[in-house]
Each structure stands twice: as C-alpha cells, then as structure tokens.
C-alpha cells in the first residue's frame, strides 16, 4: 500500500497534478477534505495535553503519550499530503518569506508547522524513555529538563492549535465569493473559525478514545482504566452539545441574514442532488446532537458500547462537516448560467492518501512496540 502510494505521489510530483481528477472548479478535492478531517481528529493531542497539564486532570496521563503520537502522525501526514497537493512544493517556503498576513492560509501554515515542532518536542521524551536510549546520560538530563517545560509546551501547543483549527474554519468562512461558505463573524474571524475549534476539541478526545480502544483490541491488552474512557466520553459529549448549539444558531443566522445579503437564495444550495437538505440535518442532528447525547449517556451509565458508538458517530460527524465545507462549497454554482458539478477522486489521489495512512499506522505501531505509550499498561496486566 505504501509502495503504490509512493508511486502515485511520484506521478503527481513529476507529471504534475493532471494525475488527479481535480479541475478548475474543484480546485480542492479529496486531499484537502481529508487533511481537514485528520487535523480535526488530531486535535485530541493538544486538547488532552491541555486538560492534563493546564487543567491538571491527571487521569489523562494514561493516554497523553498515545494522544501526542496520534497528533504528530495526523499533522505530519496532513503536511505531507499538502506538499503533494500544491503545484509548486519547492516554492512552499515563500509563505514564510513573503507572507500575506491577511490570508487564513498563512495563519494555518505558520501554526501547523510551529505546532508540528511542538509535537515533535513533546514526542521526544516519549522516545527518550526507550530503554536503550536511557543508557545515554546526557539524554536523561535532556528528558528531565523537557519534563519541566512540558506544561509550557502544552500551553503553547494549545494556543497554536486553537488558533489554526480556527483558521482552518476561517479558510472557508471568509470566502465572500462563495455564499455557501461565507459566514458573518466576530472581530476579524468568521463564525466558522470558532465552530471548527469547538468541533475539533469535541471530537479529538472521541478519536483518542476510539484509537485507544482499537489498539487494546488489536494488542489484546488492557491499556487504560475504564474511568479514562469515561472522562474522554464525558468531555467529548458536553463539548459536542455546545458545538451543536452554536452550530444551530450559526446556521439560522447564515440562512436568514448572511445569505440573503449576498443575493443568493438558501434553497438553491440544496436544490442539487445528491446534496439535499438531508446533508444539513445529518451534519447537525444525526452526527452532532445524537452522538453527543449517546456519549453523555454512555459516560453516565458506564456503558462502553455507547461511548464507543458515540465517539465513532462524532468522528463521522466532523468528517461530514469538513466534507460539506470543502466539496459542496465548490460544487454549488455561483453564477446563474453555470452548471452544478461533481467530481470523483482519481486512484492517484486515493493511493496518496492511503500511503499517508499507512505511514501513520506504521509509525504508531512502532511507537507502541518500542515506546511506553500507555504508562499504566504494565500495572493493568497484573490482574
């Protein structure tokens, strides 16, 4: 899988993006949509860090390492894909040299790269705790030092992440040329800025929960206390409720104030199959409110099954939201006399992403094999 993927990447880099099925209308395609999703899910890393180091929820120490690794994978993976997605990767650094401070994308680029650095540093001590490396005295010292600054890093990471999750939302919210995506905002940020933050931190823990569960299934080991799952579910659930609340308000404002002002008619947006109004419903209720309630209920009733379904639904929900913002926005026509369009990714696009996914799995399993991702793993094996 990695092989085919790398081949596809090679094609795209050497022959150019004509290898994809993207076109002048679908300037963004599968890659951007999945990047957004992945980064949203990766939010688990910083948010758990935030809960642990800033809010001092020490139970979460059990999953923090795993969360950090996940975050690292998600972010590095996303950046890898982005490098293939842009037409001129060798010029990507222009963004740092000649930045346009008004562009949400600039914010995103800066934050993501910085945060990736932070994650790398957070990753370091986990690596250093490897038995072999512990032999080197200087490394021990280094690790110890790192531990002292960890809260600071967490804080920085949190700030950066909050910011770029927002910017990712802003990415679409500011498109005043696209009434479907455009949102009014507070200060310089459109509402999507905050909604993306909320949805990301809401689903981040859910994703951590899912992965942790998956890993323990595969390795058939108990990795964390059920209580940890419960906290994650609870946190995720309540955040999701808040998110859905705001999302609902935002949608109403958008439909009744923002859109009419642009001269467009909301009904038109959903006049095109397959993107009927059901999308809106699914986004807010089916994959928003429902998982939220399930999660809370699950946490209350100590039912892991519920927690898991809730988490899965929540993750699906955030994916759907990112899909709508990316693909549907481009599919809906703006001019009266132009057609509605659809697009299917080419195998190169899919393969490229699978390669990154594969890289993620490999990196994670290596970390799991050689590093101590779940500190309580040992103790839990006792009984």
């Amino acid at each position: 899988m990695l092989g085919i993927g790398l081949f596809a990447i090679g094609l795209c880099l050497i022959k150019g993006l004509n290898q994809t099925n993207m076109d002048n209308r679908f300037a963004f395609g599968l890659w951007i949509f999945l990047d957004l999703t992945v980064i949203a899910l990766g939010a688990g890393a910083f948010f758990t860090g935030f809960l642990l180091y800033i809010l001092r929820r020490d139970e979460l120490r059990a999953v923090i390492n795993s969360a950090v690794v996940l975050g690292f994978i998600c972010y590095s993976g996303a950046i890898l894909v982005l490098m293939v997605d842009v037409g001129q990767p060798l010029r990507a650094w222009f963004t740092f040299w000649h930045p346009n401070v008004h562009s949400m994308l600039t914010e995103v680029t800066f934050c993501i790269t910085c945060y990736l650095a932070v994650l790398a540093i957070e990753y370091a001590p986990i690596v250093l705790r490897n038995r072999q490396l512990r032999k080197v005295p200087s490394f021990l010292v280094f690790e110890f030092e790192l531990h002292k600054v960890m809260p600071v890093l967490a804080a920085v990471g949190t700030f950066l992440s909050f910011f770029h999750q927002g910017s990712l939302g802003g990415l679409y919210g500011v498109l005043q040329g696209r009434p479907f995506a455009y949102r009014d905002g507070f200060a310089i940020w459109p509402s999507t800025f905050f909604l993306f933050i909320l949805s990301a931190i809401a689903t981040g823990p859910a994703f951590v929960l899912v992965t942790t569960w998956a890993v323990s299934k595969i390795s058939s080991k108990r990795l964390v206390q059920p209580s940890v799952y419960r906290i994650l579910a609870m946190v995720s659930g309540w955040l999701l409720v808040t998110y859905v609340g705001f999302k609902g308000i935002d949608t109403l404002v958008w439909l009744n104030r923002t859109v009419p002002r642009t001269g467009a008619i909301p009904a038109q947006f959903y006049a095109w199959q397959p993107f009927g109004t059901w999308v809106l419903f699914a986004e807010i209720v089916l994959f928003g409110l429902v998982p939220a309630l399930i999660l809370i209920a699950g946490a209350r009733r100590r039912s892991f099954a519920l927690q898991l379904t809730g988490s899965l639904l929540a993750c699906a929900g955030v994916a759907l939201n990112r899909f709508v913002m990316t693909i549907q926005t481009l599919a809906v026509p703006t001019l009266k006399f132009e057609p509605f369009m659809l697009y299917w990714p080419s195998w190169q696009e899919v393969a490229t992403f699978l390669a990154v996914a594969a890289y993620g799995v490999i990196l994670y399993s290596l970390s799991f094999r050689y590093l101590k991702l779940f500190p309580h793993e040992r103790d839990l094996q006792q009984y």
Binding site: A27, D85, S103, L105, G263, A264, K336
Partner: protein, 261 residues
C-alpha cells in the same frame, strides 16, 4: 529631487471592460485573440472544459423558454478585477495576487504562486485557471509566442490581467517620449480589439469622458454578482430584461445550456 518627484507622480486609473451582450453573437474571437496574445497554450488531448485555460471564456445561456421562443445569450467572462474586498487578494498566502494601484488590475504572478488554488476556491466567477499540465506548443510554434508575456509553468494559477503587457509597452513608449502617462490610443486589450461586433470596450471607468465609463453608467448596465459587494470592474449591458436577470444574482436558477446535459 526632481527625478524622484517625477517618477513618484501619482497616476490612478480604474481600467475596466464594458461588454454589450446584445451585440455579442458568440463567435469566440475574443477568446482566441486572448490566447494568442497571452501565450495561453493549446489543450492537451486529455484536457476538457473543466481543466482548460481560457482567460476569456464565453458562456452560453438560454432564457429557459421553449422553441420557437427560446433565446440565447453569450456571456464573455474574464477576471472581473474586483476593486473592493477582492476575494482572491486577501486569501493568497504569499502575496502572488495584488492590485496594481496605477491600473486597478488584479494581478496574478505565476513566479510567486505555489499553486495552493485557494484563490480559485475564493473566486465566484471561476475566472482563475490552474496549469494542470506543462505548457506545450507544436514544434516550431513557440516562434509565434508573444515576447511581452512570460509563459507560465505547470502547477501555478493564471488569469486575465487586461493585457497588462500591452499597458507596459504603452508606458515604455510614453516614457521614451518623456511622457509620464500613456496615450489611451496605445492601450487596449486583445479581446476588445478582436471583437468583430465591437461589443467589448476597454476604458478608464473614472475618466468621465471615456466611452467605457459612459457605457457603464447606462441604466441597462450591470455587473455579475454585484451583491457580493466586491465591486467588479467588468460591466455588462443588455436591453433584454431576462438577460439582466440572468446576470444579476437574485432570480431563481435558470436551466443553462452550459450544463451540456
């Protein structure tokens, strides 16, 4: 400091096009002339209407009635050179898009562009095009390229810039004659020049006695998606009410021939 005062003299123009849709009969000469002038390469065999490069693109639209009452209108659409909250300018992460203060032209600099295509997502007119392929001409045809326009490489965005190279040439000519500003007769776009029906007019929209500014003020003149508040500098005019409704953004979607079924 005569020299500095001299070269710093402020010239502010708002060049724009006024396109008379009642004269346009969709011959496509504007699109062809544009491609020749701006070294836009011919299509690869794989290229279709969704991946092509057409700085000036002519859309066909119908009034939605049926034979024999059906009527067709052609919308020549290039970059609309929005003057206010220009959607593509603010989104470009590395300043590859800006507005020339002297002409009001929205620029797109292929050498700076990294090909993220965010500007294309931002443009409501789909007037920006991405180089999905390396530009290629049949052997020998590169001898017919216009030396005043650089050929774009694969992986960057390009679009209409109101034949800016012609503006540069006219400026140089004026400067050689010691004049600060160009002679309007020396500067027109390839599309306006080529239109057999004289349906396209280029002019300074601020210059009260330019033909363009006068036409733009006519009651039947309108701008596409004007309600978005981006103040585009390309005006359209038609005496036919249904055409104006098609161009403006507040009527229900009308079946478009452009959909090709």
């Amino acid at each position: 400091m005569k020299s500095s005062a001299n070269s710093g003299a402020i010239i502010k123009r708002r060049f724009g096009l006024v396109i008379d849709l009642d004269r346009c009969n969709g011959c496509g000469a504007c699109a062809t002339a544009c491609a020749v002038e701006n070294n836009v390469p011919p299509a690869f065999p794989e290229v279709n209407e969704r991946t092509g490069l057409t700085w000036m693109r002519v859309y066909r639209a119908e009034n939605g009635r049926t034979f024999p009452d059906s009527r067709t209108v052609y919308f020549p659409i290039s970059c609309q050179h929005c003057g206010h909250d220009t959607p593509c300018v603010s989104v470009c992460p590395q300043n590859a898009v800006d507005i020339n203060p002297q002409t009001g032209v929205v620029s797109q600099i292929p050498e700076r562009c990294l090909g993220c295509r965010y500007c294309m997502a931002a443009c409501p007119y789909h007037a920006r095009y991405f180089n999905w392929f390396d530009p290629t001409w049949p052997a020998g045809m590169e001898k017919t390229l216009n030396p005043d326009v650089s050929v774009r490489m694969r992986g960057v965005v390009e679009k209409c810039n109101l034949c800016h190279s012609r503006w540069q040439v006219a400026k140089a000519k004026a400067a050689a004659a010691g004049k600060q500003d160009l002679d309007p007769a020396d500067y027109t776009t390839a599309c306006a020049e080529a239109c057999p029906a004289k349906a396209i007019v280029l002019g300074d929209l601020d210059d009260r006695n330019s033909e363009a500014s006068r036409a733009a003020k006519s009651p039947n003149a309108f701008r596409l998606l004007a309600k978005l508040g981006t103040d585009p500098k390309i005006y359209y005019r038609s005496n036919r009410e249904w055409v104006r409704r098609l161009g403006d953004a507040d009527v229900a979607q009308i079946e478009s021939e452009a959909s090709r079924g």
